[in-house]
């Protein structure tokens, strides 16, 4: 009778308790290096950052579907280039939160400073407070949901994706916009060049419902929003404008 000895499989250790980084003592580079070194999210699914105190680039460049809870306010470029991770900032965020995000989700419990979600290519950015100027500037596929207001020049040159604003929008919303869809529930101070009000068709209601659901927002209805988008008059050079140059 043959006795088979099974090859001993390597012990898989999963750290379910969050791995905590205290930025009062640990250098920021150590945190980001550790986050970048995750090769299998299942090994260390949960991370926590305490005492960020306005640090820059907290959890930037994460490329695994891990969860990062940031306890406090952050500075520039938090969660920049995020790919797959779910990052929650329990505070406010400085300029450029979620800049060039690829996928995943970033939630800011407080306010966000200028150019939140700039150039983002995918994923969902939720700002539970207000976002400042240039929110979603040059967005390229990201979905952004702002519970409060957005500042001037939001969705400037936006190319694709959806910007949802439950509050009001500032001056020059959607200036020089390409194909992104803008949904605003409150007032719009002014529309930028080539940005116009558009009809809400059933597919837009459905998309908006899905975005609100994903953002965890249950107290407003998609029908309360107005859609804005591109009039597409800037796509080609108009020869009548030749004198302007």
């Amino acid at each position: 009778m043959n006795v088979t000895t099974l090859a001993k499989s390597p012990q898989r250790e999963v750290n379910y308790a969050p791995r905590v980084f205290d930025l009062d003592t640990a250098p920021l580079r150590e945190l980001n290096l550790a986050l970048h070194q995750v090769t299998d999210a299942a090994d260390e699914p949960s991370w926590e950052v305490i005492n960020p105190k306005g640090s820059h680039a907290v959890a930037a460049g994460v490329a695994q579907p891990i969860a990062v809870e940031v306890r406090g306010s952050v500075g520039y470029y938090c969660g920049g280039m995020n790919d797959k991770a779910s990052i929650t900032v329990h505070g406010s965020a400085g300029p450029g939160v979620g800049e060039n995000m690829m996928s995943g989700q970033i939630t800011v419990k407080g306010d966000a400073s200028q150019y939140a979600g700039a150039t983002g290519r995918g994923g969902l950015l939720v700002i539970e407070g207000n976002a400042s100027s240039r929110c979603g500037i040059s967005m390229k596929g990201i979905d952004i949901v702002v519970r409060g207001n957005v500042g001037h020049m939001s969705a400037f040159m936006a190319q694709s994706g959806n910007l949802v604003v439950l509050g009001d929008a500032g001056d020059a919303l959607g200036d020089s916009i390409y194909e992104a869809r803008l949904f605003v529930r409150g007032s719009v101070k002014s529309l930028g060049a080539d940005c116009i009000k558009k009809e809400m068709r059933p597919e837009h209601i459905a998309k908006l419902k899905e975005l609100l659901d994903r953002a965890g927002i249950t107290d407003v209805k998609p029908e309360e929003f107005t859609r804005y988008g591109s009039a597409r008059t800037l796509y080609n050079f108009n020869i009548d404008n030749a004198d302007a140059y």
């Binding site: 105190k53 520039y76 200028q114 001037h152």
Partner: protein
Amino acid sequence: MCGIVGLFLKDKTLEPQLGAMLSEMLVMLTDRGPDSAGIAVYGASTKGKAKVTIQSPAPGTDFAGLETELGKKIDAKVKLLAKSTHAVIDVPADKVEAAREAIAELRPSVRIMGAGEAIEIYKEVGLPVDVVKRFDVSKMTGTHGIGHTRMATESAVTTLGAHPFSTGPDECLVHNGSLSNHNNLRRELIREGMKFETENDTEVAAAYLSSKIAHGQNLGQALESSVNDLDGFFTFVVGTKNGFGVVRDAIACKPAVLAETDRYVAFGSEYRALAKLPGIEDAKVWEPEPSTVYFWEH
């Protein structure tokens, strides 16, 4: 880039810590501008007395004997307290102009940093940590103060090109940004009789506000006017004897964060600068709106 901080105290018990709080805030923003740093502190004022802050590239020779010579020249009791390259001279309030002229004559290489009943200004080339140490800023008491760390764009890295700029009694201004119509404005202000020490754009902004105030506007109104008349990028923080103001241009690309509690109003180019202030967790923290004047007064 540049970094700005400001602190306006409401709670008198914090006044002995003003210099220490402001220093810590400014040092936190060192990487926004390593060229030069400066600070203006509004301290206690005595009725009938004024303070003139001077600076010299050769303080050893310039400050020696100046107290006696100046006192004799303007026929008044003066007191000089030297701090590194700067000195604060106490003079009777009605002798400030006479003192300015006398100093220029007695010590041609000395520059006047500012004058007023409450203001003292210290600025030098170097990192914030070295500048605040050089002038012992952390031991200073005061009601409000403003600090700046500079990354030069518009003019040379010199002591005089550092901020704050003071162009009127007890007035000072710090700036993050760059102005594009400063040459024209400077010419206009020179025609009005204003004098300029540098080619710096911020000095023009300070002189512009001083001119508006001299023509009867209050600081709030002067700041309102600046939004229309100044072209370029700016976040300004300004101080007067009793007041503290903040304004940003319409584009508002230069960062700004305000925080207010029962005990203070604080400004920082970034939240980092405010993160260690007492009670910041429960403070009202917000980003000042573009083209909007924020102003507090004691």
